[in-house]
């Protein structure tokens, strides 16, 4: 059980809450309190829109512990519209192949379960953007 570790990440995992640097407007995800761009303190919370595009991707066939049931699955580096690169699973891919540049949007999904008795862990994944 690693309940506290997951609990601390609720906000960033459920709804992509990162930070924005009050000095240079740089957006940070995950939150790290120091702006990687200008080196100043950056603790103001910022909720990302969840929109972005596929920067790179790969397919996982040999999954690490806890993810065996979902193989094969696609992991991508997603470039958020606000700038940061985020690593996450892609989901709901349907029949269309993923390509670099594919527009995606964040959804909150089940990441894994901590065994049959442990907690269910939820967090962000990305799916192909709906053509609204």
């Amino acid at each position: 059980m690693e309940v506290s570790r997951h609990w601390r990440l609720n906000k960033q995992r459920y709804s992509l809450v990162g930070e924005v640097c009050p000095h240079c407007e740089h957006k940070l995800f995950p939150p790290r309190d120091i702006c990687p761009d200008c080196g100043e303190d950056a603790r103001d919370l910022f909720e990302f829109s969840g929109k972005g595009s596929v920067y790179s991707f790969t397919t996982v066939s040999q999954a690490p512990a806890g993810f065996e049931e979902s193989v094969p699955y696609t992991v991508a580096i997603v470039q958020l519209d606000e700038g940061p690169l985020v690593t996450a699973q892609l989901t709901d891919l349907g029949d269309k192949p993923v390509e670099i540049g594919t527009p995606v949007e964040m959804v909150t999904r089940k990441l894994r379960s901590d065994g049959d008795q442990g907690m269910l862990i939820y967090g962000y994944k990305f799916r192909p953007a709906f053509a609204a």
């Binding site: 906000k11 459920y14 989901t91 349907g94 089940k110 269910l120 939820y122």
Partner: protein, 354 residues
């Protein structure tokens, strides 16, 4: 003073935001018939929505709630209740609703609870939300009906037990997309369908689920709410009834005097299945997606055990613009990937891997 049994709050309440969610996978009924050697070889027409491996009532409720919030255009911190009705809460103990509340930013100044009343747990939460907002205790309350419906492999339920549902943010009528004129609940102890603790699949009373259960409760609720408001079927542009299959809502609509035209926009069961606590509610989102301002809607849910909640709603001038702020029900239905029975068995955890 309203007529005995009718529910009418002190302050007028309406639907300020609504949102649907339906997962992308579809299992045709013919696949169920193929595996289980249905004598006719075809089974009922249509298909049902199936949740993906990483979806459950928590994740689906979050997306429906986000859609409702997009249309409501209010700050989530002003929500005072997040209530989720379902037969498929992922945890036995630990609320679905706290995860949903956290994900949409409604914490910490809010109530949160999970509701249980078979297929009407979501409309039960709506009734409570009307009271919560209508009394002035809260300005906004979120009620959700969502399910990844269970059906034993080979059981008649398996043809239709689908996945999906809807979220309704209730608030002051002045801000609403549809006003709630009045509501009513009709309840008796009728054991037509149930699932015991720690059991995976429900059992049902075969034909007993019809006459004394579904038809009686829906008819009594619909007749009472119409007679008490001096309404008749022709006063409604739309009617939505709980949809365990195609025939039941068609038959109850006809016996009450509604036409096929009045129920067609809210009839989704042949395309997404019976989404249990989501069934009547996602029918309502489909109607709100197409209704014109000033149209009257009758909504009657049914939950085994048994009871029906009935609501009379009227759409407002704000509906046409604000409904475009989130994905409509049809977009989710059209996003469709057909799967076979084996994939369905895998997605629904029916394969033993350890």
């Amino acid at each position: 003073m309203t007529e005995a049994g009718l529910l009418k709050p002190i302050r007028d309440v309406g639907i300020v935001g609504y949102g649907a969610y339906i997962p992308r996978y579809r299992l045709p009924a013919s696949e169920v018939a193929r595996i289980w050697k249905d004598p006719a070889g075809v089974g009922p027409p249509g298909e049902k929505a199936v949740a993906g491996l990483d979806e459950d009532v928590i994740t689906m409720s979050i997306e429906a709630a986000r859609n409702a919030m997009s249309r409501a255009t209010i700050d989530a911190s002003s929500i005072r209740a997040v209530w989720v009705g379902s037969e498929s809460h992922p945890y036995a103990v630990k609320p679905t609703s706290t995860v949903v509340a956290e994900a949409i930013g409604a914490v910490p100044n809010t109530q949160a609870a999970d509701w249980e009343f078979a297929c009407k747990a979501g409309t039960e939460a709506m009734q409570a939300a009307i009271g919560f907002v209508g009394s002035g205790m809260a300005d906004y309350a979120l009620s959700i009906g969502m399910d990844t419906a269970q059906g034993r492999p080979g059981d008649a339920l398996e043809y239709t037990a689908g996945a999906g549902g809807a979220a309704f943010l209730l608030g002051p009528v002045e801000e609403s997309l549809a006003s709630i004129e009045v509501s009513y609940s009709f309840t008796t102890d009728t054991p037509d369908f149930f699932r015991r603790a720690n059991e995976k699949y429900p059992v049902h009373g075969e034909r007993f689920t019809g006459e004394p259960a579904y038809f009686k409760h829906i008819s009594m609720a619909a007749e009472k709410i119409m007679s008490s408001t001096n309404s008749s079927p022709e006063d409604f542009s739309y009617a939505i009834f709980h949809q365990p299959n195609v025939k039941f809502p068609q038959r109850v609509a006809k016996s009450l005097g509604f036409t096929a035209d009045q129920i067609k926009d809210g009839m989704l069961v042949s395309r997404i299945g019976n989404t249990y606590a989501g069934s009547a509610m996602v029918g309502l989102t489909a109607v709100l997606d197409v209704a014109d301002p000033g149209e009257r809607i009758l909504l009657v849910s049914y939950g085994s055990g048994a009871g029906s909640d009935a609501f009379i709603l009227t759409t407002t001038d704000q509906l046409p613009q604000r409904r475009n702020l989130a994905l409509d029900t049809e977009s989710y239905i059209k996003r469709r990937t057909e799967i076979d029975y084996a994939t369905y068995a895998r997605y629904r955890g029916k394969l033993v891997t350890k």
